[in-house]
């Protein structure tokens, strides 16, 4: 029995008070983002440097160094925030850490080169809350990450953690808790968007024991990492939510099914569970209320399909992760045929907030049918990539421009893909092209003055479904004019063919058939029949698939056909890829704006580019393998991706001017 055990809510409150009293609000705290993203950027070396410097200067008692969870601005990692001033440093290298230590921690000065500089206004912004990326967000869940060491339960308690649990267990009945969750309008954050309160009520009503609560942490969508960061950065909030939920439903056993590819999340969660047990917040007689509940971590085996609830439960039981028909719901008969309530990580994390701050407060955020905030993983061709938490109802325009900072390298936004492989491509092109004079703009041959875009679409469950996509788990992949919608559709279908469990015919065979058709179109061999097939097959696959992997698989294709039909037609009829991506339909060529900097020549892997320095270069069409390296590197936008076979038309002058190098001639003496 641990001496740390909190035997009552009063003891918990007392602990918080003690921690608050002992905390010196003026003490310098250096927080370093230690989420997986920043780890990949080298934050461990930064942390090590700070620790070394502190040891050297013997300031262990004066300065605290805290490795925290993800701060969200992954584009600019590694991130360091120094408290109490709140100065925000980005792209910190180990050498920079030394500077920060000397100048900021010890000297109280700023290191300007590490501060955030707004790309539009060129202004330096010192504090996190003023940076546009953060200003427009509403970080009710993620906000805590920056102040907490996820492996230190006291940090969480200091921020008010587990108080909601104490309230729920001692001052509320199960019905009241479920009522609150219902009133708040919380909907599942994993993709289904089902009303959480309703799900809990149904599960509670089933008169079968035992009941299970499950946390679905098998985040499989490509490009989605919200759940990962939440589990890495604030596992206690998820745990607290699960305990409250278990109490409301009448369950005593909980499972967190986390994908094995998240080792840091598993580690931090394990530490958190143990710490909670030590404090008597998990296990028997939680906080002395007599309620028993414990959590077991189960790791996945590497299958996307195990994010589907029935496949997840099969995998938890130790069987092959295959879904089953949901005509009988899992809340009635799920894990081991017992009532099981499954919710996503983010859903669970919202629960303590609702209990703590009230259902009305929660319901005041968001739209009529989608309450609260949503964490999106904003990735792709946008300036500020990372995790953004925004209130429901915010428009795509605000996300892409105000938070995302617009398109990099002066390109045009083209589409936003939400909901992962189950979602759709939404068109977000602007009416006024801010193009750089490319002869081939979008594949979309529409009236330039017509603003057919969804930039002003409010982001919420029903709106996204209405326009042919879905919220999904929160992945938001931004694409610009250099992305080909046929290629993207093909990518998602290919992903799904590899992840399909193979049990039901339409998903297993249908997706493979769709993939071969899309590949055909991408290779320039498509016909109008093929587009008809795609639509017909899509409908049958949606109708007859056993689970939602197959049932939503055609969405990318259908939405691409809906909003970018002209692009498909260009591939099929013109045999042209307007975005210049599909290699068989594209020729790379250099136009007359080339200034002969030689950069492309050096990057070409097949030595297909020839040209003298400071003179027009051109691409030998026969040697070019369409790899696109020259396109990526050219800073003058002189490389053009034209229709296959038309490359030389652009390069006539260059070829005329080309003078081959002088051959060495030796005189012959007769």
């Amino acid at each position: 029995m641990s001496t740390n055990r909190l035997n009552s809510p009063a003891e918990l409150a007392a602990l918080k008070q003690r921690l608050e009293k002992n905390r010196n609000a003026n003490k310098t705290v250096v927080t370093v983002c230690a989420g997986t993203g920043c780890m990949a950027c080298g934050c461990e070396a930064v942390l090590k440097t700070f620790h070394e410097e502190r040891k050297k200067d013997r300031l262990e008692n004066e300065v605290e160094i805290k490795a925290t969870g993800c701060h969200g601005f992954c584009e600019r990692g590694p991130l360091v925030v120094v408290h109490p001033s709140g100065v925000f440093y980005q792209r910190v290298k180990p050498a920079d850490a030394k500077l920060i230590w000397e100048q900021t921690v010890k000297g109280g000065q700023l290191v300007n080169k590490l501060l955030y500089r707004d790309p539009q206004s060129n202004e330096i912004i010192k504090h996190e809350k003023d940076i546009p990326f953060y200003k427009r967000q509403m970080r009710i869940i993620f906000g805590k990450n920056g102040f907490m060491d996820p492996t230190a339960i006291n940090d969480y308690i200091l921020l008010g953690g587990y108080l909601a649990l104490a309230t729920a267990l001692t001052k509320m009945t199960s019905e009241q808790i479920i009522g609150d969750v219902k009133k708040s309008g919380l909907r599942g954050r994993g993709g289904g968007g089902f009303l959480t309160g309703k799900k809990w009520a149904t599960c509670r009503a089933v008169k079968v024991d035992p009941k299970y609560v499950i946390c679905n942490a098998d985040e499989g969508d490509p490009g989605a990492f919200m759940d990962r960061s939440l589990l890495e950065g604030n596992p206690h909030q998820v745990i607290e939510g699960m305990i409250i939920g278990a109490y409301a439903i009448g369950s005593h056993e909980g499972f967190v099914y986390v994908r094995n590819e998240y080792p840091l999340a598993v580690k931090n969660l394990t530490v958190a569970i143990k710490a909670a047990r030590d404090y008597g917040l998990l296990g028997e007689n939680i906080l002395g209320t007599g309620f028993n509940f414990d959590i077991v971590i189960s790791r996945g085996g590497g299958a996307f399909v195990c994010g589907e609830s029935t496949a997840l439960m099969a995998s938890l039981e130790g069987k092959v992760g295959e879904p089953r028909a949901k005509y009988i719901h899992t809340v009635e008969s799920g894990l081991w045929d017992k009532p099981s309530n499954l919710n996503n990580v983010e859903t669970w994390a919202n629960v303590p907030l609702i209990i703590e701050r009230g259902a009305d407060w929660f319901a005041s955020i968001g739209t009529e049918n989608s309450k609260g905030t949503k964490v999106f993983a904003l990735t792709g061709r946008v300036n500020n990539t990372g995790l953004v938490e925004v209130p429901m109802g915010i428009t795509l325009r605000e996300i892409l421009y105000d938070i995302g900072g617009g398109a990099p390298r002066g390109k045009r936004f083209k589409a936003v893909q939400t909901g992962g492989p189950s979602g759709g491509m939404l068109i977000v092109e602007e009416a006024q092209p801010k193009s750089h004079g490319s002869p081939v703009a979008h594949g979309d041959i529409r009236n330039e003055n017509e603003a057919v875009n969804l930039l002003d679409l409010p982001v919420d469950f029903d709106e996204l479904t209405r326009v042919g996509s879905m919220m999904g788990s929160g992945g938001m992949i931004v694409m610009d004019e250099d992305s080909c919608m046929v290629d993207v559709a093909r990518y998602f279908i290919h992903f799904l063919t590899e992840e399909s469990c193979g049990k039901c015919l339409p998903c297993r065979e249908g997706l493979v058939t769709m993939l071969s058709v899309l590949r055909k179109i991408s290779a320039g061999k498509g016909t109008m029949e093929d587009i008809k097939y795609l639509e017909e097959l899509s409908q049958v696959i949606i109708d007859t698939s056993l689970c939602q992997l197959g049932g939503s698989a055609p969405n990318p294709v259908l939405s691409a056909l809906r909003y970018f039909r002209q692009e498909f037609l260009a591939h099929v009829v013109d045999k042209r890829c307007p975005a210049g991506v599909c290699k068989d339909l594209v020729s790379h060529a250099i136009d007359n704006t080339c200034n002969g900097c030689h950069a492309c020549l050096k990057s070409c892997p097949t030595s297909a580019i020839v040209g003298e320095p400071k003179r027009l270069h051109y691409v030998i069409q026969d040697k070019c393998i369409q790899c696109g390296a020259c396109y990526q590197i050219c800073r003058y936008n002189s490389i053009k991706r034209v229709k296959r076979g038309e490359g030389d038309k652009l390069q006539e002058r260059a070829r005329e001017q080309w003078r081959p190098p002088l051959k060495k001639v030796t005189a012959e003496v007769s």
Binding site: V320, L505, R508, V512, D543
Partner: protein
């Protein structure tokens, strides 16, 4: 079970709540096509061919799979709308794109109007219906098969694609595979083993034989899956009269009777000790009983006469008197072998084009039409050689091209030594008494002769009775005989038994023993001594009592009684003394 009202294709019906649509439709004769459905297993819903449209009164509709969709009150099901047909057809076309055009898919394609699958066909024969895996898991319980890999690479296999140790060789997977992807393969690669034949190889439920009485199937425990793994039990689910009882076992009953007819039959002589014929050593040397099994149309080869490698024999030799008329084995003649040997040669001539050789000592064709049959056989071109075969050797000995075996004999009619190359040798083995005949007879107080057969009361005048009253003999247990004779004898024995029972009064010999109760001390010595088990012990009176009906008046008990309490009627001491005095006078 609550009942709910639903509508299928416009027909109203009432079914139990929670019934699956497929079963409900079947009960009103609406057929919905399936590929992966099996009525005694949990529905798998993988093939989606059973898709139907479900509609509610409020107007929503969606496509569901009939095999596992539970009905609810007010549900409407449509099985043939264009949307449903299109869903089924497209799914089938996609399946055909990766499978070979096997009959089960062709049949479905015809039903759905597909003449030319849009995406062609491939070579794979497995349609991934999962019937084999699920049967092995759920019904058989051996868990030897499973699905491996994911998505388009999904396949059915054993662990690591090696021969599975869990497989119990029941053949259920092969039986239910709709395309023939799974086949049963002989592990030892011998086509047939004559000595191991029985009339029905691997079936677990069989009629013992066609003429069995009662003519009902029985469970063969060695082949039954339930007794191997505890699973299956499908037979009990199917039987409409609930006749299956797995706990059934042989029971013994006591019946009180007054007459017993013993018809325990004969055993076949086992020719293994006769090493010169190579029975059990060389393949294709078989006994007559084994040939009968092979020849039977309900047998393992379906009546075809084949060698062990499955080919038809080119020449067959039938050797008479194996174990009969033999000083080393049985001196008697088994009476039936000559005729059945001729029958065999007739059957061989009818079914194959083989040469037949009969090696005999005497041709005993004694009965009605038998000699005529022999003549017919000779006309059919059967080679009869008078001379018991001396030896059977494998033909590698002398590099003969025809025949795998060589029969060596002396043809006494032409006085020459012959070596006959044949492919198969049939040994006409002797009939002999049952191995346990002697012991068995002791229970009924009847004895066996030197030749092993039971002894009748009189060979000419009482061939069906024994020396023990009420015990009769019929059939081969009394001596080797053929079917007409056995049937006749059976009738005779039955008549004798009925005569006994119908008499009401039995006339007996007047000479029998009587025990005087006053002198009997209850020592029971006489009880065991009586060879006719005529004396029993009365527990109430504590004296022995003679059953006068059984007593034959042999006098053994009279002499043995220490108290002299037993008197032989009409043969008392006084009567004997008087006779002696009369003679001496």
């Amino acid at each position: 079970m609550d009942k709910v009202k639903i509508k299928i294709d416009g027909q109203q019906m009432e079914v139990d709540d929670g019934t699956y649509v497929l079963e409900a439709a079947k009960s009103i004769s609406i057929e919905i096509p399936t590929l992966c459905y099996y009525p005694y297993m949990v529905p798998y819903a993988a093939c989606r061919i059973c898709s139907v449209e479900a509609r509610s009164a409020s107007g929503w509709s969606k496509i569901v799979t009939a095999c596992n969709y539970p009905v609810w009150n007010g549900l409407e099901i449509l099985t043939n709308t264009p949307r449903v047909i299109n869903a089924r057809r497209t799914n089938l076309e996609m399946l055909m794109a990766s499978c070979a055009p096997v009959p089960v898919l062709q049949h479905l394609a015809e039903q759905l109007g597909i003449t030319e699958p849009r995406w062609g066909t491939d070579k794979h024969t497995c349609i991934l219906c999962g019937l084999c895996v699920r049967i092995c898991d759920e019904i058989v319980g051996a868990h030897a098969l499973a699905f491996v890999d994911r998505g388009a690479n999904r396949d059915v296999s054993t662990p690591f694609q090696l021969d599975s140790e869990s497989c119990i060789l029941c053949g259920a997977c092969a039986k239910h595979c709709p395309t023939g992807y799974i086949k049963m393969e002989e592990i030892e690669k011998r086509f047939i083993v004559h000595q191991e034949m029985n009339l029905s190889p691997n079936a677990a439920i069989t009629l013992p034989f066609r003429q069995a009485v009662p003519n009902v199937p029985q469970i063969v425990r060695e082949n039954c899956i339930h007794f191997k793994t505890g699973g299956c039990m499908v037979c009990s689910k199917v039987c409409p009269k609930d006749c299956i009882d797995y706990e059934d076992s042989p029971k013994s009953e006591e019946v009180e009777v007054g007459a017993v007819v013993i018809a325990t039959g004969f055993d076949s002589f086992d020719p293994t000790p006769m090493k010169q014929y190579g029975y059990g050593k060389y393949p294709n040397v078989i006994s007559s009983e084994e040939f009968e099994v092979m020849n039977n149309a309900a047998g393992p080869t379906g009546g075809k006469i084949v060698m062990e490698n499955g080919e038809e024999p080119r020449a067959i030799a039938i050797l008479h008197c194996i174990g009969s008329r033999d000083h080393d084995y049985h001196k008697y003649c088994s009476r039936v072998c000559c005729m059945y040997s001729l029958k065999f040669s007739h059957l061989v001539k009818e079914k194959t084009s083989a040469e037949v050789y009969q090696l005999y000592i005497d041709m005993r064709s004694f009965g009605k039409g038998y000699e005529e049959f022999y003549g017919r056989i000779l006309d059919e071109g059967v080679n009869v050689i008078r001379g018991k075969a001396a030896e059977v050797v494998p033909s590698g000995y002398r590099q003969h091209e025809e025949g795998h075996l060589i029969v060596r004999c002396e043809d006494t009619l032409i006085g020459k030594y012959r070596e006959i190359p044949v492919d198969m040798v049939i040994l006409s083995t002797a009939l002999e008494a049952r191995r346990d005949a002697k012991e068995f007879g002791r229970k009924f107080n009847i004895s066996t002769g030197a030749d092993g057969w039971f002894i009748e009361a009189h060979p000419k005048l009482a061939p069906v009775s024994t020396t023990t009253e009420g015990i009769f003999l019929a059939g081969a247990c009394q001596g080797a005989k053929d079917i007409p004779d056995a049937v006749a004898q059976g009738g005779a024995a039955a008549a004798q038994a009925m005569k006994l029972m119908a008499q009401g009064e039995v006339m007996m010999d007047a000479a029998y023993a009587v025990i005087d109760e006053a002198f009997c001390s209850g020592c029971k010595m006489c009880n065991d001594m009586c060879p006719y088990t005529a004396i029993s012990f009365d527990d109430a009176k504590k004296v022995s009592v003679v059953n006068s009906a059984l007593c034959k008046g042999c006098g053994t008990c009279v002499a043995a009684c220490p108290a002299g309490a037993i008197m032989a009627r009409h043969f008392t001491d006084e009567q004997i003394y008087a006779q002696i005095e009369g003679i001496l006078a």
